[in-house]
């Protein structure tokens, strides 16, 4: 039973890994559809909870796959889901990176590099806005976002100091 669940996790997440063009946010809706509607691994309500936990944690947003795996088949499920979501795309990326570094002197590489730069910049801002919206932030969080962005852009203050400060402020805000 457990083996078939682990295999099921792999067979759901490995294809999603190969389809995640543009990053993890591209496949969240498909993950929900597969997990809730097709495999019936959890209710829609459970998925919303798991999504919220994944947003609260550090690291890549695709780690939601590990949480789904854990929900389905415990720690082994988390490990299999993480391998399935990261390994297939990573092999493709590694091959592409090898080619990219090997082609350092080719004129085409320079063209690709300059042509893709505005795409990267546009997607960074779109991604920041998407996280801001998905988190349904409160006024204090918006304030903290603005302060952190301002400090990190204009001063050399350490990010870890800002994080420590934010942790203290938000702890007090909750306790008061």
């Amino acid at each position: 039973m457990n083996e078939s669940r682990l295999l099921g996790l792999f067979l759901v997440f490995a294809p999603l890994s190969l389809m995640s063009f543009g990053g993890g946010q591209a496949i969240i809706a498909d993950m929900q559809h597969q997990t809730v509607d097709i495999q019936h691994w959890m209710s829609g309500r459970d998925f919303v909870d798991i999504f919220a936990i994944s947003r609260a944690a550090p690291g890549p947003s695709t780690l939601i796959a590990a949480l789904i795996g854990w929900h389905v088949a415990g720690f082994g499920g988390a490990a299999i889901a993480a391998i399935a979501i990261y390994l297939p795309s990573s092999l493709i990326v590694y091959a592409a990176v090898r080619w990219w570094h090997a082609a350092a002197d080719s004129p085409w590489r320079g063209i690709l590099q300059r042509g893709l730069t505005p795409i990267a910049v546009g997607l960074v801002f779109a991604g920041g806005l998407a996280v801001l919206e998905a988190a349904r932030v409160n006024a204090l969080q918006i304030f903290a976002t603005v302060i952190a962005a301002g400090l990190l852009t204009t001063t050399r203050v350490s990010m870890y100091a800002i994080m420590a400060g934010a942790a203290v402020v938000f702890a007090f805000a909750q306790l008061l």
């Binding site: 990573s90 962005a149 994080m163």
Partner: protein, 187 residues
């Protein structure tokens, strides 16, 4: 284009330590931005242009952008083993963090204090993403690339148009324009 010289080999232990730290501290989807601060600003493993083009490549390929970026930087510094260790270093700490969080959630429900602190850390992470975005935006100064970046942000970010078709339209357009510009002024 400035080439970053590899004057000395980065020890694998230093490589994995950097990605480990970024993995465990990058809240609010800020992993790519945290990699910018560590790899570009603090260690100068890449320059701004190198980073932004690496990020672009990693965005158009399948896979989580920060993981792809870790593979890119790790492979540039130390080949296959560097790419592998960078990716594992980046994924493993938050993998453990997220499972601990899930276990705590199941056992104790949503803890308001933890929820508030994590929400604050996520806000700092979003601030860092915006800050790094502003720095990366300075790498494009010509009107056409600025227009392309702004179009992508407005359509995908503000108007919620689907990202993949927009990238499939704008990326070839942007690359094609650069190709024409190169033909127009051969050096």
């Amino acid at each position: 284009m400035k080439v970053v010289e590899k004057t000395r080999e980065i020890p694998l232990s230093a490589l994995i330590a950097v990605f480990f730290r970024v993995g465990i501290t990058s809240f609010g989807g800020s992993t790519a931005a945290a990699l910018y601060r560590e790899a570009v600003e603090r260690r100068r493993w890449l320059d701004d242009h190198g980073f932004v083009s690496a990020l672009a490549l990693c965005q158009v390929l399948p896979g989580a952008n920060p993981v792809n970026l870790a593979i890119y930087i790790g492979a540039q510094l130390r080949g296959g083993i560097g790419g592998t260790l960078a990716a594992i270093g980046l994924i493993f700490p938050p993998f453990c963090f997220i499972l601990v969080l899930a276990v705590l959630y199941v056992r104790y429900g949503a803890l308001p204090l933890a929820h508030s602190i994590l929400g604050g850390l996520a806000a700092v992470g979003i601030g860092m993403t915006l800050s790094v975005g502003a720095k990366l935006a300075r790498t494009i100064r010509k009107p056409v690339p600025v227009a392309i970046a702004a179009t992508l942000f407005i359509t995908v970010g503000v108007l919620h148009w689907p990202m993949i078709p927009m990238v499939l339209v704008l990326a070839p357009l942007s690359i094609g324009i650069e190709r024409l510009l190169l033909k127009a002024e051969p050096q």
